[in-house]
């Protein structure tokens, strides 16, 4: 979409960023996202107009450091700033930091342990107080405060000896070298010490209901269950904002969300976007820009490798060969979805395009099973050494596209002598212990592997991340491969994008061979906005479409 709507001038910027991402990636000093870029057209005299963003879930957590879900990010990205920000190509840019720290510019020591961040000197909190290194220190310490209901703590728990060198410089030491932390900082919003520091209990502070940030928009008001209103921060240190009022409207039903987009009540459809079944119709709407964008998650059949049926690689290969993925995407998912062989999003610099391509072939699937000694029993179901090739598949009940896919798979699997039963559960049950503690046989699930778009997938693929075996992590398929473990450990310690690319390409190769999960397709999302809303850019490296509301403006 951006391709259609982009002007020549910001095409050059995007190209430049892409080249940078390819050439030097994260560490490169990218143009300051917050400084007024040279190409920016003369902005209107002051922020003007209003944008109404429709969301199908209600944002309720406004302290960005507290445990929250995707939909809350829309507010955080507009009210707060992080040290760095990630662009759609995966490149990092300074936000509250004056430069992105790297080994080249001395921000990160050669051993990866000592970090030094230089900060902007002109950012102010919405109440007028200046932003300083003390706020950064306070933020990082609050996250690891055991009494605080913090969101993700991995990476942050490695930070120690935080020292404020000056109001614009902060240093710390990491317990071990951990490269993904730089990307994590892009999702770590800085909160004000002068407000939260005074609170006896930060979990119940008034701030959590009326946040004060440094971002392009100030907190306006919230009408619970209905909408949240943000207003332009004219003192914003960076680019923008150009719209005066930013409204996040909660519309609980996806069909109604789409209807209100159609009727013009909603200017932009964010989380959970336009449903696939409306895509064809939405594209034809007058005065609307509706596009298909790749998301960061992979829809796949997760196999619980703790079950005896799946320990044999031949079984996994045969099942994969029996997946008619094209038919599933085209006939069930309205063509919204991209076939892929890996968990790495195609937008990522670390994506491996050279993986073997799956081919739907039932004869081949049967042959693999025959050769591996899985012979059909009297009931037509294959078995070997007393293990029947029968399993259940679970997913969120009520998701009718997934339910159709399950029925489709049930039939194709039956043709190769494999029995699949369907056992779906309500979301709260499905994704609780049942999923986390690997109590399923197989699951149909959309999984994001990367944390903050860093290629490190330790949490999903490392042996020590198997919660069902006492590990700490979300390796719910119980995948274990010493080579992958070693590669992941090496990758997390390396700050060199080239070296990391080789490492993660090899991880993708091994995982593609081992097939701990069977990729169905990479999620695509249908984004819709009104014509005339400029400056909008989708970003698969963030969880919200409203990551850069500061740059939005209505065409005059």
């Amino acid at each position: 979409m951006t391709k259609n709507s982009s002007t020549t001038s910001n095409y050059s910027r995007r190209e430049a960023l892409r080249l940078m991402a390819i050439g030097g990636a994260a560490g490169l000093i990218a143009p300051n996202l917050l400084g007024k870029p040279a190409f920016a057209k003369t902005p209107p005299a002051g922020p003007a107009g209003r944008v109404v963003v429709g969301l199908s879930q209600e944002p309720t957590v406004f302290n960005p450091l507290m445990a929250h879900i995707e939909v809350d990010d829309a507010i955080h990205f507009s009210v707060f700033d992080a040290l760095v920000r990630m662009d759609p190509q995966g490149g990092l840019h300074p936000n509250l930091a004056a430069e992105v720290p790297s080994q080249k510019n001395g921000g990160i020591s050669e051993d990866g342990l000592n970090w030094r961040i230089r900060l902007r000197d002109n950012a102010r909190w919405h109440d007028g107080e200046p932003f300083t290194a003390e706020d950064v220190k306070f933020t990082l310490e609050l996250i690891t405060n055991p009494k605080f209901r913090a969101w993700r703590t991995s990476g942050h728990s490695l930070v120690q000896d935080i020292t404020v060198v000056s109001p614009t410089e902060i240093t710390w030491r990491m317990k071990e070298a951990f490269a993904p932390y730089l990307s994590f900082l892009a999702e770590t919003f800085i909160v004000p010490k002068h407000i939260l520091g005074k609170e006896a209990d930060p979990n119940t502070a008034a701030f959590n209901q009326a946040p004060v940030g440094t971002g392009a928009f100030k907190w306006g008001q919230r009408v619970a269950g209905d909408h949240i209103e943000l207003v332009a921060n004219p003192e914003y240190a960076g680019e923008g904002p150009y719209v005066e009022q930013l409204i996040f409207k909660y519309i609980p039903d996806m069909t109604v969300l789409y209807t209100q987009f159609k009727s013009g009540d909603v200017d932009l459809v964010d989380q959970s976007f336009i449903t696939a079944d409306h895509y064809t119709e939405a594209r034809e709407l007058p005065d609307r820009v509706v596009t298909l964008e790749t998301g960061a998650s992979l829809e796949s059949i997760y196999l619980n490798l703790g079950r005896p049926q799946f320990k044999d690689l031949a079984v996994r290969q045969a099942l994969y060969a029996a997946l008619d993925r094209k038919a599933i995407v085209d006939t069930i998912y309205y063509g919204v979805g991209t076939l892929t062989e890996t968990f790495m999003p195609k937008e990522s610099y670390y994506y491996d395009p050279n993986l073997p391509v799956q081919e739907f072939n039932l004869d081949r699937a049967r042959q693999i099973l025959d050769e591996a000694g899985w012979v059909p029993g009297p009931d037509g179901i294959r078995a070997k050494d007393g293990v029947r090739l029968s399993f259940s598949n679970s997913t969120t009940s009520g998701n009718n596209l997934r339910e159709q896919t399950q029925q489709f798979l049930q039939q194709t699997f039956a043709e190769i002598g494999v029995e699949m039963t369907i056992s779906n559960l309500p979301a709260a049950v499905m994704w609780g212990e049942f999923w986390l503690k690997s109590q399923f046989d197989t699951a149909m699930v959309g999984v994001t592997y990367l944390i903050a778009a860093d290629p490190d997938a330790t949490n999903r693929l490392h042996t020590k991340a198997i919660a069902a075996q006492g590990g700490h992590g979300s390796n719910t398929g119980q995948y274990s491969n010493p080579e992958v473990d070693a590669l992941l450990e090496k990758g997390a310690r390396s700050f060199d994008p080239e070296e990391r690319r080789a490492i993660y390409n090899r991880v993708q190769e091994v995982v593609r061979h081992d097939l701990p999960f069977l990729p169905l397709f990479a999620y695509s999302i249908v984004l819709g906005r009104k014509k005339g809303l400029d400056g909008f850019e989708p970003n698969a490296n963030t969880r919200t479409a409203s990551w850069n509301a500061a740059a939005w403006k209505w065409k005059a």
Binding site: T204, N208, W431, G432
Partner: protein, 316 residues
Amino acid sequence: MRGFLLNRLLQSLVLLVIVSIIGFGILNLLPGGPLAQFGLDPGMTQQDIERLKGLLGLDRPIWIQYLDWAWRLVRGDWGHSFRDGAPVLDVIGSHLFATLLLMGSSTVIAISIGAWIGIRGATRRYSLFDYLATVGAMVALSVPTFWFGLVGIYVFSLKLGWLPAGNMSEIGDASILGYLHHLILPSIVLSLVHVAIWSRYMRTATLDAISQDFVKTARAKGLSERRILMKHVVGNALLPMITLAGMQLPSVLTGALVTETVFTWPGMGRLFLDSLGYSDYPVVMGLLMFSAILVLLGNLIADIVVAIVDPRIRLA
């Protein structure tokens, strides 16, 4: 009378305790829980989730969690929402107005139109109007509310552009006219089913009253049909309706889930479903207690009124 009141109050309290235990038990028996929403977050480790569980007090035995919750409630502390950290009473309060507005106006519409149709149908029994009203009521009762809602939006918002497609007000517009404009479609849709119910009840009650002896007496006295209807029939037919209206009170305050969803109305029904979806225990329990108190209160008031009117009940 005092003994009767005390007795009733005690019964209500026991009932509330039972309701709360059952509610708390069922809520906690559901697997998943408030932290399941983080199950698919790539960055939330099992450790993070255990840590949050501890901070929310969810790692304690369920009966301790219950006693803790109940003891706080007795002291007037309804707890804080797991989702946004706001006090439960504030959360309920912030959704109450929307529901009251929608349910109140639709109930007024339903009662007035329903009563009119019922009386008219009864006085012209087996007329064309009566048949049409009966068929209409059956249709209104059988067709789901969301279908009426979606059709209404399609016709009046998307095609004709007369009425808003949903929401309680235009953002930034707090005028009464604005609210009324937004109220028209959802309150009519919601009242459709209630009109049907009310008209059926009203018809039966009116027919009952018409066949009474005092109506015959009035006729014998030579009163006009109009006067008989207004003074003797309707007055008596409305009596059972008042009890019915009293029983509707809790539902006026607890909301209409489907209509609120279709018209993105930020009311109590939505709040209940959302809180249940996120297993926001304090809010779900708060809502449960809130509606239980309303139901008991409604019954208590009804009992008292009946007792005042009819001394036989008091003795029983």
